[in-house]
């Protein structure tokens, strides 16, 4: 009859039943077959039976090795990794590793070999160069051209600009232009439109104010002129028909000039030429102011003409 033995996992699962003798006769025979072929389980059971007073102790290192083999695996792999990872070996380096090395001669040898390798490797960092290599390197590098770093470029540029200040200014102006274009608030598209609309609104309002002012001023001027005429009629020292004719000619000239200037101001503001708009609005106002009711008729005409210029 072909009897199949139990597995290591089965042994670990049924450890308590084995100690208590609670396994069946068939399982006991299968366990015996397994232990004949598995040193790890045999060692583990032997150690456990010693701990529970059921058997004399076998070789403890061998037993430990067997127990570790069926539990965590060999610790020597980890030990070597820890040995080589220590940069500055010392007594305080690793208590667990030291404990392992005390009991594991193989890892002790590996640790000693690593220490030797560590000491040897830096000495192998250099090799004797073939004869003539130094001379060849110096010869070839003396003929080689250096690639300038960006600091060298900047230094060279700075030195050449110091020698040519006008070129430096022009270069500075050229460099400044894109920055002005990029970072000036008016160049930002959204902000530009908003600013432009604000300016149009402000200047249109200004132009309207100027026009109203002009109209009011013209009205006041006509009133003043009428009062002046009345006075002159009363005084009787000018020819009445000639004076009335002169007065209406002046009013026509001034109102024509004011009208033209206000129109020009409005056109300039609507096309964004605000400075020009203000100038024309100012000219309209000057034309009104030039219509001085107290002045002589010749002077008044001159003033009106000057205002429209």
């Amino acid at each position: 009859m072909n009897r199949q033995s139990v597995s290591c996992a089965w042994v670990r699962e049924h450890l308590l039943e084995i100690f208590d003798g609670a396994i069946s006769g068939e399982d006991r025979q299968r366990l015996r077959d397994h232990l004949d072929g598995c040193e790890a389980c045999a060692g583990m059971l032997s150690e456990a039976m010693f701990d529970t007073g059921q058997a004399p102790r076998q070789d403890s290192e061998e037993s430990l090795r067997r127990i570790l083999a069926v539990t965590s695996g060999s610790p020597c792999t980890d030990a070597l990794e820890r040995i080589v990872s220590i940069e500055t070996p010392g007594p305080e380096s690793d208590e667990l590793l030291t404990g392992h090395l005390e009991h594991c001669p193989i890892c002790r040898v590996k640790a000693d070999v690593w220490e030797w390798i560590r000491a040897e490797l830096p000495a192998m960092a250099e090799m004797d160069v073939p004869a003539g290599l130094t001379a060849a390197v110096l010869d070839r590098t003396s003929r080689a051209e250096r690639e300038a770093g960006w600091r060298d470029w900047i230094r060279a540029l700075g030195e050449s600009l110091v020698r040519r200040p006008r070129a430096a200014l022009e270069l500075g102006y050229l460099f400044a232009l894109p920055f002005m274009f990029l970072f000036h608030p008016a160049a930002v598209p959204g902000h530009f439109m908003e600013t432009r609309m604000t300016h149009v609104s402000e200047f249109t309002s200004l132009a309207q104010d100027e026009a109203l002012l002009a109209a009011a001023g013209l009205g006041r001027a006509v009133d003043e002129k009428t009062r002046s005429l009345r006075t002159r009629f009363t005084q009787g020292w000018v020819d009445s028909i000639q004076t009335v004719d002169q007065f209406y000619r002046e009013i026509r000239d001034v109102s024509g000039a004011v009208k033209t200037e206000v129109k020009l101001a409005a056109t300039a503001c609507s096309t964004g030429q605000f400075d020009r708009g203000i100038r024309h609005a100012g000219a309209a106002w000057n034309a009104i102011k030039s219509f001085d009711p107290e002045a002589e008729s010749g002077d008044t005409t001159e003033g009106g003409t000057h205002g429209t210029e």
Partner: protein, 187 residues
Amino acid sequence: MTLTEILRQCKRNDTLAWERFVRDYQGRIYRIAFTYARNPEDAGDLTQEIFIRIYRKIGQWREDESAMAWILTIARNLGIDHVRRGKVRAADRTVPVDEHQDIADPRQNPVEECMRDSRRRILQKALESLSEISREIVLLKDMQGLSLDDIARMLGIPLGTAKSRSNRARSELVHAVLALSSPEQLL
């Protein structure tokens, strides 16, 4: 004079500093070149290429970065180019330790010197048996003394990866050495 001071002088076109640099560091550069070229002739050519590249690019070296790491980066890049160009002669893979190791200390006796050469030959063979990645990291970390930070930056890998690669390479090296000799022969 430290390497940083020498390079700083070289950067200012001091030809004497350049000569000093070549004389002091040609052995190291040659060792690195040998790692990639694997034979003395190609290693010599590669060493010259490395020095010429360093000379040309010295203006780009930032004084706040590790001088050795900068030099090794140049050497490694040229070494990799050399391998890619297929310049490595596959037939000649052994390192003539007697000819290319550093000059023996005259205070040592001949027997000790012979034993040391023998042990180094074993270590050299063990290094040769490592994978490219492991050999490179041993070269950079344990031979040339670069920090793991510099190595990680140079290889473009995370620091943790550099550390685990270094530990793995060292473990492989220990096993390779023990496979080539008995501990009594070494220790």
